[in-house]
Symmetry: C2
Subunit: 226 residues, 2 copies
């Protein structure tokens, strides 16, 4: 009875899957080569037959997550489809909160396989459909991408420890009201903020802005025929 038949054969995929699982359940700091190896029932050094180094594993995690992107059905008008795409992306990031930290090191999702280019293509298609020039599609892509990632990064995702939240609230409450009047006035809205609603607010801002831009350019084209 050969070993290689008993235990599932080790592959890059299996390693990255295990790493992603560890990250989702125990956090990014728990992701070590030794921990991954334990997860797949192997010694650490065996992993190096299938991945270049740890960085390669982390790249793989990013890629795998991007591959999970769920394409919204293409119904409704263009702004609604943009919204649906953005919501889907947010859900994706929320499902793997720590992936944001990997994106931060990599300066964004850093597409490395065709699969992870597909969501990008979708986004660009939507922008084109919304009436943007090729050039503005790229700009809008960065703008929306920045917003979505930044927002999800800020909203916390995983471990907003109660102790940490408490300390922040205490600190906010202790501020001199005369020096921070607006902060004092709005503080209750910080406390009772709903993530979904906030995300929609910012998304709405950007989409309204987009509409304004498109409308303006139509006027410009009509008059200048550029």
């Amino acid at each position: 009875m050969t070993i290689t038949k008993e235990r599932e054969r080790l592959t890059r995929q299996r390693i990255i899957g295990a790493a992603l699982h560890v990250m989702d359940t125990e956090g990014l700091e728990a992701v070590s080569m030794r921990r991954i190896a334990r997860e797949v029932g192997v010694e650490a050094m065996s992993l190096y037959h299938h991945v270049r180094d740890k960085e390669d594993v982390l790249d793989g995690i990013c890629e795998a997550v991007m591959g999970e992107f769920e394409y919204p059905d293409s119904a409704g008008d263009i702004t609604e489809r943009l919204r649906a795409g953005a919501r889907s992306y947010r859900r994706l990031l929320q499902a793997h909160p720590d992936v944001m930290r990997l994106f931060a090191e990599r300066h964004g999702p850093a597409p490395s396989s065709p699969d992870s280019f597909r969501p990008m293509e979708l986004a660009l298609q939507l922008f084109r459909e919304a009436g943007l020039s090729n050039r503005d599609c790229v700009q809008a892509f960065h703008a929306f991408g920045g917003y979505m990632q930044g927002f999800v990064m800020m909203e916390g995702g995983s471990i907003e420890s109660p102790e940490h939240v408490k300390r922040k609230e205490d600190l906010a409450a202790s501020l001199p009201v005369d020096e921070f009047p607006v902060l004092a006035a709005v503080s209750r809205y910080f406390a009772e903020c709903d993530g979904d609603e906030q995300f929609e607010f910012g998304l709405d801002l950007m989409i309204r802005g987009l509409q304004a831009k498109v409308a303006e350019e139509l006027v410009g084209d009509a008059s200048a025929a550029e």
Copy 2:
């Protein structure tokens, strides 16, 4: 001649300053207790008399960076002041590229001292001045905050290694055009993108959206008198 008089006395401030310096010059991964200690001419364990643990040092870095925020002069109309504030914040993050990764772990700047609340107060004031309700100020704060941080995070800041960029371009070039038509069409704009311009584009989107929102609410108020 006492030692404590010869060498500058060790303080939390000095430690955090040294840590920030190491981060800015050698990157976040170089920031270790031993490295910081060496920087201030001391052994690692001595630091623990002044800071709780490494996490405390990293919190201190975030705080110090936020304290460096430069307040734009309050001239011009409200949208221009909003722009100026956003540009200043971007410059701040760009000056310390790796701080984004700390923010990512902390889910945003995580204000911990009055100083780091001051930029927040400014932002909220500007939103109020722009005509937003208290509630919408908080929403706009999150939206703009998300955008700015996400954008700077994506634009790379520091170490966009040439080798990495190359690999990304190669991969993009190798994509099947029929499956990624828009991507192929716009790819040249990705290559020649200018960070400042892109940032302004997204900023413009959000500000236009804000204006639209304010205008709409004025109408709503006039008719409903809410």
